[in-house]
Symmetry: D3
Amino acid sequence: MQRYDGRTPNDKRPIKISTNFTQWAEGSVLIETGNTKAICTASVEETVPIHLRGKEQGWVTAEYSMLPRSTQTRTPREAAKGKQKGRTLEIQRLIGRSLRAITDMKKLGERTITIDCDVIQADGGTRTASITGGFVALALAIKNLESKNLVEKGTVLRENVAAISVGIIGGTPMLDLDYSEDSTADVDMNIVMTENGQFIELQGTAEGNPFNDAELAKLIELGRKGIAELIYEQKKAIDLTFING
Amino acid sequence: MQRYDGRTPNDKRPIKISTNFTQWAEGSVLIETGNTKAICTASVEETVPIHLRGKEQGWVTAEYSMLPRSTQTRTPREAAKGKQKGRTLEIQRLIGRSLRAITDMKKLGERTITIDCDVIQADGGTRTASITGGFVALALAIKNLESKNLVEKGTVLRENVAAISVGIIGGTPMLDLDYSEDSTADVDMNIVMTENGQFIELQGTAEGNPFNDAELAKLIELGRKGIAELIYEQKKAIDLTFING
Amino acid sequence: MQRYDGRTPNDKRPIKISTNFTQWAEGSVLIETGNTKAICTASVEETVPIHLRGKEQGWVTAEYSMLPRSTQTRTPREAAKGKQKGRTLEIQRLIGRSLRAITDMKKLGERTITIDCDVIQADGGTRTASITGGFVALALAIKNLESKNLVEKGTVLRENVAAISVGIIGGTPMLDLDYSEDSTADVDMNIVMTENGQFIELQGTAEGNPFNDAELAKLIELGRKGIAELIYEQKKAIDLTFING
Amino acid sequence: MQRYDGRTPNDKRPIKISTNFTQWAEGSVLIETGNTKAICTASVEETVPIHLRGKEQGWVTAEYSMLPRSTQTRTPREAAKGKQKGRTLEIQRLIGRSLRAITDMKKLGERTITIDCDVIQADGGTRTASITGGFVALALAIKNLESKNLVEKGTVLRENVAAISVGIIGGTPMLDLDYSEDSTADVDMNIVMTENGQFIELQGTAEGNPFNDAELAKLIELGRKGIAELIYEQKKAIDLTFING
Amino acid sequence: MQRYDGRTPNDKRPIKISTNFTQWAEGSVLIETGNTKAICTASVEETVPIHLRGKEQGWVTAEYSMLPRSTQTRTPREAAKGKQKGRTLEIQRLIGRSLRAITDMKKLGERTITIDCDVIQADGGTRTASITGGFVALALAIKNLESKNLVEKGTVLRENVAAISVGIIGGTPMLDLDYSEDSTADVDMNIVMTENGQFIELQGTAEGNPFNDAELAKLIELGRKGIAELIYEQKKAIDLTFING
Amino acid sequence: MQRYDGRTPNDKRPIKISTNFTQWAEGSVLIETGNTKAICTASVEETVPIHLRGKEQGWVTAEYSMLPRSTQTRTPREAAKGKQKGRTLEIQRLIGRSLRAITDMKKLGERTITIDCDVIQADGGTRTASITGGFVALALAIKNLESKNLVEKGTVLRENVAAISVGIIGGTPMLDLDYSEDSTADVDMNIVMTENGQFIELQGTAEGNPFNDAELAKLIELGRKGIAELIYEQKKAIDLTFING
């Protein structure tokens, strides 16, 4: 069976991770998954939120936004409306939790790393792209701290983490839905998984028909495959940064 | 194995659903699950959001809040701070999606039902209690519409929906965590499921160690059991309302 | 002369004060005056507002809110709108002033007690019920502090305070208006009075015809009677709490 | 007995009402009561709030503000803070109610008059000065509508309304407290009264000791005297405007 | 050539600066340029913004607002809308920069002077009037500090600064446009200049046709003339304050 | 004389305009001037602001934002703070005015074009880059409308517009300051000029020493040269888009 863009149900979209995409951040990437494109930057600040002060640990947090015309029709700017939408807050909480789950806060030391994910073009899967790209930005920032001997080499990040969406369309489970597929899906699921194949987050929603255990199992199998591929790309991107750079 | 309050890992907390708890709403309940207590009301308005006007369908939406001293230490009032927290927005989006998933919007007609879930005492599981209680309030409001012949009897709600939390503590999967258990859990998962045992929402988060497929399967099994029990209680509460009322 | 619900002009509505209504607060009550129901909690925090620090005195403040469907038709949630209405701010300022007036701030010590009044069902007189119930919550919290020897027994609260509304309908002064009566009243007055029969607050408004001195005198006489009855109920509720508890 | 500025307890401060103080408004005054100075303007708009449309009646509303340095030390600007204080909202609601109470909304026709009261120098009694001056601005705007035959002459305003503060200091009831007196008063009361000596609003607050019936009677007597004098000044100011203008 | 109000293109409007216009501020003026009237006050606070603490220097900042009915039709109040317009923020940033440009922050010492410019009647040129009047308020506040020996006499302010608008209407460059002229101008330019004839700010905008170098030169020549006249008036007002005061 | 990066005072930084940078917008570019990079998109909506409805004309407006880590140290996100800074509002007003100045609103028809300028990397001159790039995005959107025969070919835009900064550092006027130069400049000026060499906007600010007529003339001469070069690049980018596309 073939999808409208030629993929089989098991195929994810092509992915491209361009590191050091912007100049000032301690870590930055442009991540492209199909037509979805996001800039992820990691900013290191030598302070922690008030409730963590003096606890000899660090913090990782995330913010998410879409450029107004990243979408098919223009979406009003949240800064102009004076508040962030529930969807935005929900996504940035998810990104933050996912990245904190693989970070050793003690080893990070009393500093905060903020991951900013700004979507410049949206075609489905912006939150999973943000996690996958956000991990790379975070890893680059940690390398940066390692190179200055501010953290112990190889201890801060326990393993890679990546995320992908899966869904059921017309009864068929499929990997990595784009926007047009997502609009017609009965089930939409985001999976955040570590390099070792364990779950960090699993969020499935029946937007049309509810789903059963067998469908859940198939969706997870697809997601696992996609995430393994994404983690391979993350590693390649990080390695190339240091060979070239 | 026994939990600190005497329950086994497979036991949910005692539940009590008091219908017609307040006077004005088309449907209202006080739901108590252990020490967690929430008032859920359903308000019917003969209008729909702008983007649905003229589409011959209805809408179901939800709002969620906690009284300031529903918590162990006082939580500042969102109205006083001038904005709702991300957690609040995330929860009310979840409640709304869950209830919309079992509602036939065409059969509802051009009207909006707003489910307000106000937690008056919090001890873990407030979002799942809100969904479980919110369904009862919704069902009562639909009965009210049926009694006035405004909707066709037995067609608007496809089946019951309820929600429960499960988690892993010290390696053991457990049903229906209270606040003190939730604070020490490695994994926290909320399951929203229909009467027919299918998933509406599945949201699992590793707060400590990530989880694997076997653990996921066990958590789902526990959740399925708990939800069957909750739906039994929902039905009993709705039936009694009409026998007594 | 009889009112539509059978009361004479001199009768207040039935009142019920249920103490220890919620679990976490240092003091809490459910107060019911006719169909008006409000939860009042008192929360003790071991800090004072910045401008009082170091002055060896405490503070008592209040917040007020109505659940969206406490009213006949649903009222939009203030937290969702992002600001509190003028009416809300005015009421919570009144509650705070009334309770501060009978509290010895020096004896309270450097701590703040916040009285949260959340109306779960509204049928007129919500601000006066909040003051009357708020006093009981405050008194319970003070008992709590006394039992821990944090304040000197019997010194913090000088005397009881309660509040009731009076009004003129069709030329007749009446006690304790409910919502339907309030809507047709020419004059609406809220009286906050101490156990010793002295005024803390007196707020009268001519919504239709202005009122004269004779009418004012009659309204005050009615209010004084109602407040004596309310204070009797406050005392009974507090006493019973400690006999039972 | 003499007050610190030479007044007896029964004396109000000198008052000056300068009409047509600004150029664009349909009615405008600078009112000075002692050192308290406020600009009151009345703006006529040929529309009514949504809930009154089609009801063949008008509306009168008020807004109140203090210039940042109208006070002894600079008060932060509400527009910069992004919200109006409870005190501001409470005062502007009082001004609006007081002026609506003497206006025949049917005779006004489907138009809104907004009274803006901006305090340029504050020394106590700003809310009562705003009501007293606001009435004059309103009356001038009505004269303006009469002169264009948009409303029927002499029918829109039923009678004059004015306001003054009274208080108890050291046991002595006094008329028209200035800021330094107000700071030491045990009781502070604002009286809004019509030309015919009837009450529109009566708001008394015990800031220190509560007050009794005899004290209330004395305060009202003082207020009545002061209001009669203010209404005389209002009439003179309005008459002179039309003799000169 | 004559303008509609009798002025030649080279004439500014009559100007009047009334010092000590309000009671509490360290410096205050009412400035009137034609029908434009603004109250400017200078408030001294013995603190500086956080980022300047410990740097042994002071700060000068400005806020700007228009009374709602300072304009021909009523402008909604920014405090009521909960945010300041872009125009407001732009103008108050301009006023602040202009006054800081002639102030020696080291000589001022660790204190902040806030210039509040509140327009009570608007007829064009409110921002330039605010700068011109704001300088006088600032100078009076500095005199006040000098008189208390808190700053060294004659060192804080380097020279006078004033501002005026110029514009091109129907091809003719003109000085000091009023509102009706401004509405039809092709070019609108605000010039902020020191006593020594040098530029602090130059902001020209083509609202209709763009302008060329020759027109720019002519506009600057007019502005220079007007500013010299304004500075003469500033000096006279300051001098008279101290002769009389 | 050579600048720290090798440029002479008369040199602008290298510029690169990449058209069709994002997928959905009717016009989009990535503009790079030295290390400053901004995405400018033009979005066409078939509606106009309320006050222009029925007037048979269109509207052009702009919004501006910086990604949080476009700057050397992370700048808090305006959407998270809930309001846009004065600087942001000032810049987007400037961009909008500049682009409206060369657009024939009648020829555009009843539609709105919104230019979004999002800075992804900042190194001085972000507002001028936004105007220069914003013009190209606008021109592409107009070409798009022309290609659908929705507007008349070649009539909507009167001429090109571009912007550049100039400044005085250590007494030397220089073209196109980067961030490090800007920080030490005595004078900072932004010039917005048309293809025909006429001014749309001229905004000069003395941040240190004020400037005189001769310096102004020199700054304008430099700006004029830079703008001619920018307009050449704009034209090349637009032409290449249509040769390639």
